[in-house]
């Protein structure tokens, strides 16, 4: 995973709440066995509508998505994160994220910045008045900068640290493998195994 400290890129206003992962990437696009190429399915249904924000050339190179509350609800598909990242997004801003989506994002290096809905409204207005404007998201100071707007964002300390360092979770856990082995020795004998005797 690449380390993330600060990112500046075109902000894309998505005035939708409850953007579920079936909207981010419909099931028909989930059949690939790779982690790449999912950008073709990103918001596939909405992109058929000419007026959809990502169809505007102004936002073609967008990398900071600014969405309504409850972003990423529904299915656990990590393909939603891959699709956003394959398209070029590095940050999603929302006042509330679904838990699994937020966890998946943290593993892949997509920053989910929790900004108050009042600030989201201000950023939406700024972007709509200045289409194609760039936004800076600073993970060190936990702030979003859009024109004159400086909005603080929340992210848990551990995820922030991992993103800043670009650390691989599995590698971190394997440092404690002896503790896992010790725990395994203490598991009750009646716990099932998937292999039948």
């Amino acid at each position: 995973m690449d380390a993330f400290t600060t990112h500046t890129g075109v902000g894309v206003p998505l005035r939708r709440s409850n953007v579920d992962t079936d909207q981010i990437i419909p099931a028909e696009y989930l059949k690939r066995v790779t982690r790449t190429g999912f950008e073709d399915g990103l918001f596939a249904a909405w992109r058929k509508d000419e007026s959809f924000v990502l169809n505007s050339p102004v936002y073609a190179g967008g990398s900071v998505l600014v969405a309504g509350p409850d972003f990423g609800t529904g299915s656990s598909r990590e393909h939603a994160v891959w699709a956003l990242m394959n398209w070029g997004f590095r940050v999603v801003i929302s006042s509330r994220f679904a838990d699994i989506f937020r966890g998946n994002s943290g593993k892949q290096g997509l920053l989910t910045a929790i900004v108050s809905q009042d600030d989201v409204e201000l950023i939406w207005k700024y972007l709509e008045n200045n289409p194609g404007a760039e936004i800076t998201v600073d993970l060190v100071s936990r702030t979003v900068h859009a024109g004159e707007i400086v909005a603080p964002f929340e992210i848990d300390d551990y995820t922030r640290w991992r993103l800043l360092e670009g650390l691989d979770d599995i590698g971190l856990t394997l440092r404690h493998e002896d503790e896992v082995t010790k725990f395994e020795a203490s598991r009750p004998a009646h716990k099932p195994v998937t292999t039948l005797a």
């Binding site: 005035r15 939708r16 709440s17 409850n18 579920d20 079936d22 909207q23 419909p26 099931a27 028909e28 989930l30 059949k31 690939r32 066995v33 790779t34 982690r35 249904a45 309504g68 509350p69 409850d70 609800t73 529904g74 299915s75 656990s76 598909r77 990590e78 393909h79 994160v81 509330r96 679904a98 838990d99 699994i100 966890g103 998946n104 593993k107 892949q108 848990d156 300390d157 551990y158 979770d169 599995i170 971190l172 856990t173 394997l174 404690h176 493998e177 503790e179 896992v180 725990f183 395994e184 598991r187 009750p188 004998a189 009646h190 716990k191 099932p192 195994v193 998937t194 292999t195 039948l196």
Partner: protein, 487 residues
């Protein structure tokens, strides 16, 4: 210190706890399917890592499988399923492939094998893993990176969830099922209401539910935003488990039951939040919109978006009505459907099929309506056929299919066409979920069956069903399956 059920299970699985770090949690059972695992196995291969505990890992093919006889025809689906087979072979993971007697939807297979047991931690790269919480297990969906993490380490680094008690007080009226309960809970707390929480369902109405019905309730916890749903194990749970292939036996069984009996929230345990629901006021519930929180009693009408106080709810309702092709004020009972789907990890168990069959029996599916009945697993299908349910469905004009996820998400050929409307016993009414442009109303198996016969959203009470048969449908919907039943 007093603790909740969720906290007790969590604490019993902490491998490592350190200041400033998430807890490292041990995983007792890791379930896999073809959609969310290929990239995880790829990651292992790239890093040269083995699967740490293949004996705590189990795979099944469910999302892509066709429900009509014959091989997978979609070449991309085929590659995904073949990739799972190759990965399981290479890494030594047990797989139940298409056609196997134990194949089925991952969340139907685990419980039916007796692999899902109280007090366990269960994960799967699938958000409906919350289903397994019905046994008093802490079970939740994970992403593919986490799948790789569990494959490599049998653990997950996690921050503790908060706890939410949902108290369903009183007894459910006849004809009101687990699906109606959970749809009413989601409508009450919203699709984000459970965020960050593990829900524990409690109260008289929950205690009276069979294991199948409890699984339906816990299954849809994720639709309220919660990671997991749990129900304290009791005699109903033990009776369901005893004698199943992977359930403990002999002295192990006694030790297990002793452990399981202690798995309940202490009387003085404090939940981070509590919600109360009066079971006696519940009626059959259906969704009208494009998220599972947009639901109402069947006796109600399509709401006016202007009636919502919150602006984002107003916009969401207006968008939903436009997508669903509905007008405010239309009685829900007047909504005509094209397709009825009975199945999925929410309502594809034997009891669900019994309930639907009891309503359908002696009737015909309405003209112009297609009804698909898709058992949740091969074992459920066999059990249903042994009981003659398949004949009830086919004689009524319904299609009796092979097991899989099917039209819940249309990764196989079972999809809605643009503009087509369904009454579906599945879990998500998102835009395009069941096929591009498809319109979904989430319902219980009883409502699905009655809707198939009348062609409009209906409950069994709308049918000219002899009272005796209706009573048996209701009984089937709430009965406890025989303890030795394979399904």
């Amino acid at each position: 210190m007093a603790g909740t059920l969720a906290e007790k299970v969590w604490d019993a699985h902490v491998v490592r706890r350190a200041e400033g770090e998430p807890d490292l949690l041990y995983i007792d059972l890791h379930l896999l399917h073809e959609v969310t695992s290929p990239q995880a196995f790829d990651g292992l291969r790239l890093a040269g890592r083995p699967v740490r505990r293949p004996d705590l890992t189990l795979a099944t093919e469910d999302h892509n499988v066709p429900t009509t006889p014959g091989p997978i025809t979609d070449p991309v689906s085929k590659v995904q399923v073949e990739t799972l087979r190759r990965n399981c072979e290479e890494f030594g993971v047990r797989l139940y492939p298409m056609g196997d007697a134990d194949q089925g939807i991952v969340h139907v297979v685990g419980p039916q094998l007796g692999l899902t047991q109280p007090g366990m931690t269960v994960v799967c790269g699938d958000s409906h893993t919350s289903t397994h919480g019905a046994f008093g297990a802490l079970a939740f969906g994970i992403g593919t990176s986490e799948v790789e993490h569990v494959l490599a380490t049998q653990t997950l680094p996690l921050k503790p969830f908060r706890t939410l008690a949902v108290n369903v007080r009183g007894a459910l009226p006849d004809g009101v099922t687990a699906k109606d309960v959970v749809l009413a809970v989601i409508a009450k707390i919203g699709t984000g209401g459970g965020q960050g929480y593990v829900i524990e369902y409690r109260g008289e109405a929950i205690e009276a539910l069979s294991m199948e019905a409890r699984m339906t309730v816990c299954n849809m916890s994720i639709e309220a935003g919660a990671r997991a749903g749990m129900i304290a194990p009791d005699q109903t749970t033990f009776d369901y488990l005893q004698g199943r292939p992977h359930a403990p036996t002999g002295a192990d069984w006694d030790a297990a039951v002793a452990d399981w009996t202690a798995l309940r929230s202490d009387d003085d345990a404090v939940f981070d939040a509590e919600v109360d629901l009066d079971a006696t006021e519940l009626t059959p519930f259906v969704t009208w919109g494009t998220n599972p929180g947009q639901g109402l009693p069947l006796s109600d009408s399509v709401p006016d978006p202007e009636s919502f106080a919150d602006e984002s709810d107003r916009v969401a309702a207006a968008n939903a009505l436009a997508y669903m092709g509905l007008e405010a004020g239309t009685p829900l009972r007047d909504i005509k459907v094209d397709t009825v789907f009975v199945g999925s990890c929410t309502n594809g168990r034997i009891e669900d099929l019994r309930a639907a069959a009891a309503v359908v029996k002696g009737h015909q599916v309405a003209d112009g309506v297609r009804m698909l009945v898709v058992p949740g697993s091969a074992k459920v299908r066999l059990q249903a056929e042994a009981e003659g349910l398949d004949a009830v469905f086919t004689e009524a004009g319904a299609e009796w299919r092979l097991p899989g996820c099917s039209m819940c998400l249309g990764m196989n050929p079972d999809t809605l066409s643009p503009g087509e409307r369904s009454a579906s016993t599945s879990n998500r009414n998102f835009e395009g979920r069941q096929g591009k442009g498809g319109r979904t109303h989430l319902v219980s198996p009883l409502v699905a069956a009655a809707t198939a016969i009348r062609g409009t959203l209906s409950s069994p009470s709308d049918l000219d069903t002899p009272a005796g048969e209706l009573a048996s449908a209701t009984a089937a919907a709430s009965a406890t399956t025989a303890t030795t039943g394979e399904a």
